[in-house]
């Protein structure tokens, strides 16, 4: 009962400076929503990356020349295939295309046109004949090229090549296909004028996933100028990119944290004369030190808990209902093509809890601690000061 009365008085106390405290809540909640948005987004991206790249090639073999990724000879396909545990070894043909008209970069990907593949996320079909292509959502939108339309790309000789769009990837696959232009391997070779017997890299199938590292090591021993990249490395790359302690997340997190520290510092540097006097009055009329500190605790808790909850709700809505438009604008960089972040929601409760702890506790402390001296001083001295 006592607690409710002190809480009641704390809320009255906050209500006396409504404007100021509402502004604090607004700023605080905004800071938390930024922090939470970045945490939610990065965690969801991490989970999504792990899930959808779970069947990436077991090993991708690149050739490195003078520290650079260079085309690889297809002559090594057979010897690699002979390594015990290795299944299929396929050459991959892919590269980048800079579209002068739009300023966008596309990824041109070749596929073996002899394979028939059913893809749920593809409308139409994959290219089978020369001059056909399938495009990702971003390309389709940017170049206004849907199924049945033409897509003109300028090849390495400066000649415009017309491709007929026979397939378009659905928006649910944007995270993988947004900038893709898929054509037959032969078309890719022709388009980029790739030398004979050269591919961008090789994909290697390993029967037993536990032997992937061994196979990769053997390839490296056989061909020291290659760099085998395993599936686990691919997934770990995205773990690192979206980990909350690195890169993008840390950047935004850090800025928001600084803003928050400024807010807390302003509070912690001392209470006003008016507040000191009020504490003196409360003590004079019979409030004990612990009653006063409890009052300050409730003042801090009311603001910080409200802000935290509001910030969290805003972050949820921003990331999972609105597809994180504000964050996308920040994260996008110079990419002309950028997928919509329609992510499968994923929560890391530990992160949320830590964030709650790191935001609520310091704010409450910065409200209680400055009042400490006044709270423990004899009331007469506080009121004299």
């Amino acid at each position: 009962m006592q607690r409710f009365k002190i809480l009641e008085y704390a809320l009255s106390s906050l209500g006396r400076r409504k404007g100021k405290h509402l502004s604090i809540i607004a700023v605080y909640a905004f800071t938390i929503s930024v922090l939470a948005s970045i945490l939610l987004l990065s965690h969801a991206l991490r989970e999504e990356a792990s899930a959808i790249l779970a069947d990436a090639p077991h090993v991708v073999v690149q050739r490195i020349s003078a520290g650079r990724h260079d085309l690889i000879s297809t002559d090594i396909i057979d010897p690699v295939r002979q390594i015990p545990g290795v299944g299929e070894v396929r050459p991959r043909y892919w590269g980048y295309y800079f579209d002068g008209i739009t300023g966008a970069n596309y990824t041109v990907l070749g596929i073996d046109d002899r394979r028939t593949v059913e893809l749920e996320l593809l409308e139409g079909a994959l290219p089978e004949a020369p001059g056909e292509c399938a495009v990702g959502g971003g390309v389709s939108e940017l170049r206004e090229a849907g199924i049945g339309d033409e897509l003109v790309l300028v090849d390495s000789r400066g000649v415009g090549v017309i491709f007929e769009v026979v397939g378009a990837f659905r928006s649910e696959s944007n995270l993988l296909t947004n900038d893709l232009v898929v054509m037959s391997n032969a078309d890719v070779i022709e388009f980029f004028d790739l030398p004979q017997n050269r591919a961008t890299d090789l994909s290697v199938e390993v029967f037993n996933p536990k032997e992937v590292q061994t196979v990769a090591a053997k390839i490296k021993v056989l061909y020291p100028d290659t760099r085998p990249i395993t599936r686990s490395e691919i997934i770990r790359t995205y773990d690192a990119v979206f980990h909350w302690r690195s890169g993008m997340v840390l950047m935004v997190f850090f800025s928001a944290l600084i803003a928050f520290c400024i807010l807390a510092w302003d509070k912690a540097t001392g209470i006003s004369a008016e507040e000191r006097r009020e504490i003196g009055i409360l003590k004079a009329i019979g409030w004990s030190t612990s009653d006063v500190l409890e009052l300050k605790f409730w003042e801090g808790a009311a603001i910080s808990v409200t802000s935290f909850l509001l910030g969290l709700i805003a972050a949820f809505v921003h990331v999972f209902l609105l597809d994180a438009p504000a964050l996308a604008a920040v994260v996008k960089g110079w990419s002309v093509l950028f997928p919509q972040f329609r992510l499968t929601p994923s929560l890391n409760l530990y992160q949320i809890f830590v964030m709650g702890f790191l935001t609520v506790v310091p704010y409450v402390a910065s409200t209680v601690i400055p009042s400490w001296t006044a709270a423990i001083t004899d009331p007469e001295e506080v009121m004299r000061a």
Partner: protein, 232 residues
Amino acid sequence: MTATASTLIATEGVTKVYNSRRPDETVAVAGVSMEVGQGEVVVLKGPSGSGKTSLLSLVGCMARPTSGRIVVDGRDVAKLAESVLTEVRRQTFGFIFQQFNLIPGLSVIENVSLPLVPVTIGLADMRHRAEGVLRRLELGAKARRKVRQLSGGEQQRVAIARALINEPEVVVADEPTAHLDRALSEELLVILAELNREGRTVIVATHDPLVYEHPFVTRVLAMRDGRIETAS
């Protein structure tokens, strides 16, 4: 010094020094020994700087003495733990400050109820008691007004109401007539006399002759430079 049976408060060689060992060190109270009996009306009289407010604060458990003893109801309060002292302060004393010390943003009833907030009593009971005290002081109709909307005299009465809400044995008033005109001062003295008739002990610090020459006053202790000069 032997305490009589009806002695409520006694001080023994009480000293209060402010800013000790600093250039602006002040001895506000210098070795004062005095007694206040149950039901008395004691006035501490003296000019500004005589130490009467400081002595009042010590006696009212609002400050601890630098040295000496203060015995309230048989207990040496100088040695009490803070929480116990707070309890004594709350239950025994009702303090009326010179500056009123009301919280301006709160309403009349909120100000009056403040002493009861940390006490184990329900919200409804708290409100009920506050309304009772306000009615007694003819402020019932203004319970919901903000205190800053009240006149000086009305604010004084709110301060009195707040001091009375815990039903204290001792009412302590520091320069209660300082901000009042003659008519309001006389009204205030009527209230204090009534409180005394109810059995409460009253201690007042003042330099206003209207107070210390009033018939309801039992004893006047004249102070100068932190000491009691004369008692009458």
